[in-house]
Amino acid sequence: MSESQLIVETAERIFADHCPPEVVQGAEEGRYPSALETTLVESGLNGIGLPDSGTAWPELFEVLRVAGRYAAPLPLYERLIAQALLGREAAGLGLGVWQDGRVSVAWPEQHEQVLLVDAAAERGAIVATGALDLQPGHSIAGEPLATGSAAAPDELAVTGVGDILALGRVAQMCGALERVLELAIGYTSEREQFGRTLSKFQAIQHSLAVLAAEVAAAQRATDAAIAGCDPLPRWTDVAVAKVRVGEAAGVCAESAHQAHGAMGFTQEHRLHHFTRRLWAWRDDAGAEGEWAARLGAEIVANGADNLWSFVTSHA
């Protein structure tokens, strides 16, 4: 087994044991998953992607994919990325995103300091969270998200940060999509209506076939973007993945909810742990339209007669 597979298995085991639906629901109700956090630190997973760890960006993204599969309600994305961008251990450092004078910080109360990054300029700075002018709030997924304004961070270079932020979200979305499909298959195979399980209705079968096709496309786009890291992600692969996985997120959330009926609309059912995160993550680090515009501009600039070569150079 490769080092990378071993890490994924370790992560899978930790989240399966320490991030059951009750923990995610507990976080919804304001109980921070400290035990999960402690386990992640003790396992060494919090050092993934650091120099001398034997791991790099691909392993970091794979761990985020597992975290997405469990809707892990803690700032793993923010911490792993902030630390790996700095290239040194920085326990407790959070992440803030700066764009056009506006700033957003996820899980602000968990971090005394954040690495504030400007994806367009590929510049960053470590700032005290308290020194930022932030209003508390929550994302559509219910996770703490403070927003405000700040001066552009300009102390250090953070090369490729925009692609990294996007691919991190892509990886999480891919994990959540895998779970959404699994939940939809499981629910429709158990729930009986009109004397048979929902899964026996052709209308349901066809709807789940489309859901499965979307998830398969999302997985393939994600795998390719992660495999293409050298050592940083290739921006066009990230664009393809952010667009395709973002599209799948909308389609799959819609159809999984339809398959789950009113049950899936309750707070009690765990489906929303994943669908709400899909709705949040698809807008983070640039929604599909923004990445599609960059990709389209690149293709046009490249020349129409080179379009096919552009396609084949993304194997």
Partner: protein, 376 residues
């Protein structure tokens, strides 16, 4: 759960790409590019030129004249030819599925008789599966081969046989026993000589775009011998379903609308960011579909039978081919469409109803995927 492994085309296959592009520049110069639909363009001269390059039957063993190359190399050749809009219809079925079927189930004598001609690009095959009263329900075929002295007499009608009026042979699925309790039993496959005068009538059916591609083929006491039977008697259903992984996952399942993308890109030079974003979305989908299709080619190369994954590529790919003209037409004002974009939109739209019908309808494919998910 479904598995699309992260597979890249090996360097050996990529090395072929330049060679194919060079060949296409010579054999099929720019300026007369047509749509990338695999049914548009029946050109024996082009097929023979491909055969001369060693690019037909290229994965088949050398003892029959094949090049014994990998599925990946075949993939590169087929996608390059399609993307260029070259006329592939003549050799398409023979190279994609009739030859592989004969290699897998045919007799030694049949392989020696038919494969060299396919490899040279001189021998063309059609599919004989559907019938007037069995559209997607293939097990309901009624064409019957009745034992007679020295062989069988075939009676019945095959429908939607693409290019049967131009090709040399058809591999027909017929009943060799009357239908019983097991509706998949009692069917066999025969090689039919489409150019024979007696016992067979081939009638082209004009499609809505005005062209004549598919046909009705009527058999009246058409005589076949045991030498014409492919595989074992009664094994027809198994053989037919084995063809489908080859038939459903290739680049022809998502490239039919490719010409639109090229012409749209040309029209969008200096275009708005919103319009370019529409192009970007379409290309992101295309790149992802191609990667999935290459994963299936990898599974075929490993000797697997990825029927569910193939159905999934076709389902996504056909929907995509239909989406492309719908998105492209709204990406810019009508007056800004170039003549080439208009032509590509027209050609694609007129064929688009067939995308989710040919090679397995959307409804059949979703059923195959649902079975793969364990729902039925």
């Amino acid at each position: 759960m479904l598995q699309f492994q992260q597979i890249r085309l090996p360097e050996q296959a990529e090395a072929l790409r330049g060679e194919v592009r060079e060949f296409l520049r010579e054999a099929y110069p720019a300026g007369r590019r047509r749509n990338s639909d695999f049914t548009s363009g029946h050109d024996p001269a082009f097929s023979a030129a491909l055969g001369a390059q060693g690019w037909l039957g290229m994965t088949w063993p050398s003892e029959y004249g094949g090049a014994a190359r990998t599925f990946f190399e075949r993939y590169v050749v087929t996608e390059e030819i399609l993307a260029a809009g070259a006329p592939v219809s003549a050799h398409w079925i023979a190279d994609r599925q009739s030859g592989p079927l004969l290699l897998r189930y045919g007799s030694e004598a049949q392989r020696r008789k038919y494969l060299p001609g396919i490899i040279k690009g001189e021998s063309y095959f059609s599919i004989g599966m559907s019938e007037p009263n069995s559209g997607s329900d293939l097990a309901s075929v009624r064409t019957m081969a009745k034992p007679v002295d020295g062989g069988w007499a075939i009676n019945g009608t095959k429908l939607w046989s693409t290019d049967a009026h131009r090709n040399h042979y058809m591999i027909a699925l017929v009943r060799t026993e009357p239908p019983g309790d097991n509706r998949h039993a009692g069917m066999s496959q025969f090689i039919i000589d489409l150019r024979r005068d007696e016992g067979i009538t081939v009638r082209p059916i004009r499609n809505m775009s005005g062209s004549e591609d598919f046909n009705e083929v009527v058999f009246q006491d058409y005589f076949v011998t045991p030498d014409d039977m492919v595989g074992e008697p009664g094994n027809g259903w198994t053989q037919v379903t084995s063809e489908l992984s080859y038939e459903r996952s290739g680049p022809e399942r998502f490239l039919s609308a490719f010409r639109i993308l090229v012409e749209l890109a040309r029209c969008l030079e200096g275009g708005s960011s919103a319009a370019q974003a529409e192009l970007g979305k379409l290309v992101a989908n295309l790149i992802t579909l191609r990667r999935m299709s290459i994963s299936v080619a990898g599974m075929l190369e490993n000797g697997d039978s990825p029927s569910v994954e193939a159905a999934l590529v076709k389902e996504l790919g056909n929907n995509y081919e239909k989406l492309v003209p719908e998105v492209a037409r709204l990406a810019l004002p009508v007056v800004q469409r170039s003549p080439d974009l208009t032509a590509a939109l027209t050609d694609t739209l007129l064929l688009s109803p067939s995308f989710t019908l040919r090679g397995g309808t959307r409804e059949i494919l979703r059923g195959v995927i649902a079975r793969g998910l364990g729902l039925r």
